[in-house]
């Protein structure tokens, strides 16, 4: 009896071990968590550019921006002579750009320059700016020298960047798997049970009846189950 219980315990232990191993090596398809972090990166969205703009002339750059994209840069006129008249620097959307340029047809865009920029270069001739696109679309950075009565050595440097973002994507690609923890835990529990049963079996007294002892002459028969008769 004792041996049988121990053997049962070992069998339970082996079953638990089998479950644990199976759960480890034949896991179920599992979700894959992908975390993508976009770090703020400054990208030159206008190649470093300089040129001599004629008196009364213009020079503009077109860029495509996404909503929330920030552009930073410097617009400057080298050797700026404020007595020759102001130089304006704009950040415009397409409608205002066309309107400013003397469009055909012309209709003042509703909202005018709302959310856009209209700078007058300071006496230093250099203006540094940081501006965030209020919506996605084409925008135009424009030097307006129409009131500047001499040639202007203009320079523009602009970088663009998005704020840092982190996105987490959980997907279950069929090729991706992970250990089946339920099976592993169940196997471990069954193994513990098996160990307990083995221990119980090993520690309990044997249930086997003692071997029958033939009475010997001169030796009183002893029967542990019943007291000796007097």
């Amino acid at each position: 009896m004792k041996t049988s219980i121990a053997v049962v315990g070992v069998i339970i232990l082996l079953i638990g071990a089998g479950l644990l191993v199976y759960g480890t090596y034949y896991p179920s398809p599992a979700a894959t968590t992908t975390t993508t972090t976009t770090t703020p990166s400054s990208v030159a969205i206008v190649p470093a550019s300089s040129r001599t703009v004629d008196a009364g002339g213009l020079w503009s750059f077109g860029i495509n921006l996404q909503k929330g994209e920030t552009v930073s840069g410097t617009a400057s006129i080298q050797g700026y002579n404020s007595s020759a008249g102001p130089v304006f620097f704009y950040i415009q959307n397409e409608s205002t750009f066309i309107y400013w340029g003397g469009c055909a047809p012309c209709a003042l865009p509703s909202g005018g320059y709302t959310g856009l920029e209209n700078y007058t270069l300071p006496s230093s001739g250099t203006y540094s700016f940081t501006w965030t696109a209020p919506y996605s679309g084409a925008f135009y950075l424009a030097f307006d020298n129409e009131n500047y009565n001499q040639k202007a050595n203009a320079n523009l440097q602009v970088t663009g960047s998005f704020p840092a973002t982190t996105s987490t994507m959980v997907s279950s690609p069929p090729s991706s798997t992970t250990p089946n923890n339920n099976l592993v835990y169940a196997g471990a529990i069954v193994m513990v049970l098996g160990i307990i049963v083995v221990a119980l079996g090993a520690m309990m007294k044997s249930g086997k009846p003692p071997a029958k002892v033939e009475p010997q002459p001169g030796v009183p028969t002893t029967n542990p189950a019943s007291p000796p008769k007097r």
């Binding site: 070992v10 770090t39 002339g57 503009s60 750009f97 055909a104 047809p105 865009p109 991706s176």
Partner: protein, 413 residues
């Protein structure tokens, strides 16, 4: 309990414990190894920064865009990207400044009147046939200017001595003011092309009665006609229908180094021109860019542009119109000598673009795909088929025969 029995029990327990320990240790080792093998697939963290996989190219446009530039916007904002290009656009004062930028290497591709790059070639080239700049595509295949006059002017004779608004002396509007009036019988002393400023200023001057005519483009023509007091006396395409308006060009060095970029840019241009042949999408874009303008007037102007083939969906370059245009600008002294187009232009890029895109067949080229919900307007315009505007006159190429550009320029000068 006897000693031997106790020893037997102890031995059994020991054996069982050893078995259990071996099993547990084995399983634990196997499980640990498995866990290690799987740990890398449970989660991954990737840090990315935005990258640019498109080919960068810089491009200069002549002048701040107007309504005829809607395909130009589509070119650099949409179709170029679809073809793998990232166009960095710059807008310059005009044809000459763009050509200067190409010559200086500030931009790689130029858009503008080809006479400027032809002049640059003639200046910087040499007699051995090495000319550094080459026209490879058309941007606007025809000049869309016309002469808009008040109804008091019935014919060209009525214009004698009366002011017609132009931008400035020497400008394109000045050239065509001279051309249209001289070509219709007015002498130099009778021609009065009055510098008035940009397109809106000229239009305002006409409405205010300061001038009796205005060299302008179709949207203003239609708007004025619809107001009831004006009509169109002539258009440039009706007089010089083979005159190219604006082209795409680059340096021969860049074209040799980046033939793929040049080809993609030509293809993007063709796609943009084809896009413009759908009145519905064109008017929608026009309304976005010019909010508040009249869609019916825009649609009528679109029909005129279709008839003029300003946005040529199968390309606007041909040997004949390159030669014609060269002679025209030679005649008006915008270039100094005749240089055969083979030295400064190529048709191969346009041909390759058409080969890869196929010919445009979606709609008739000179009609486009009209939007039936946008009404047609009933007035006549020289150079525009009556199929486009009910009541219009079919007057393409009526008076170019016998036109002598040399004598024209002598009279202007």
């Amino acid at each position: 309990m006897s000693y031997s029995r106790l020893r037997g029990i102890t031995r059994s327990i020991t054996i069982l414990l050893v078995v259990v320990i071996i099993i547990v240790a084995g399983v634990a080792g196997i499980a640990f190894t498995g866990a290690l093998n799987h740990s890398s697939s449970t989660s991954s963290t990737t840090t990315t920064t935005s990258t640019q996989s498109l080919q960068d190219v810089t491009m200069g446009f002549a002048g701040v865009p107007d309504v005829t530039d809607t395909p130009g916007f589509m070119l650099w904002q949409n179709f170029a990207n679809q073809l793998g290009l990232n166009i960095h656009v710059q807008y310059y004062d005009g044809d000459t400044t763009v050509a200067d930028a190409v010559v200086a290497g500030n931009v790689q591709i130029g858009e503008g009147g080809f006479q400027a790059v032809l002049a640059a070639d003639e200046t910087q080239g040499n007699s051995s046939g090495s000319y550094p700049f080459v026209v490879f595509g058309s941007y606007e295949a025809s000049n869309d200017f016309g002469l808009l006059v008040s109804n008091s002017i019935k014919n060209f004779s009525d214009l004698a001595g009366k002011p017609v608004a132009i931008s400035s002396v020497g400008s394109t509007s000045y050239i065509f003011c001279q051309l249209l009036e001289q070509n219709n019988g007015l002498s130099a002393s009778q021609i009065n092309c009055a510098p008035t400023g940009g397109t809106p200023s000229r239009y305002t001057a006409l409405l205010n009665g300061k001038v009796v005519g205005d060299i302008t483009e179709p949207f203003y023509m239609v708007a004025a006609v619809e107001s009831g007091g004006y009509h169109i006396l002539a258009t440039v395409p009706s007089v010089v229908p083979n005159l190219l308006f604006s082209t795409l060009y680059t340096s021969r060095t860049y074209m040799t180094a980046h033939p793929d970029v040049v080809l993609k840019l030509e293809e993007a241009t063709l796609l943009a021109d084809r896009w413009a042949h759908n009145e519905s999408v064109w008017v929608q874009k026009e309304q976005e860019e010019f909010p508040g303008t009249n869609a019916t007037i825009a649609g009528a102007a679109w029909k005129i542009w279709m008839a003029m083939n300003i946005w040529a969906p199968n390309g606007g370059l041909s040997t004949s119109n390159l030669n014609y245009s060269t002679n025209f600008y030679l005649g008006i002294h915008k270039v100094s000598y005749y240089l055969a187009p083979s030295y400064w232009s190529t048709l191969s890029v346009q041909s390759q673009g058409l080969q890869s895109l196929g010919n445009y067949t979606a709609c008739p080229v000179l009609v486009g795909c009209p939007d039936s919900s946008i009404p047609s307007l009933n007035f006549s315009i020289p150079g525009v088929s009556s199929a486009i505007l009910p009541g219009g006159t079919l007057a393409l190429n009526p008076s170019v025969t016998g036109w002598d550009s040399t004598s024209f320029w002598r009279s202007v000068a």
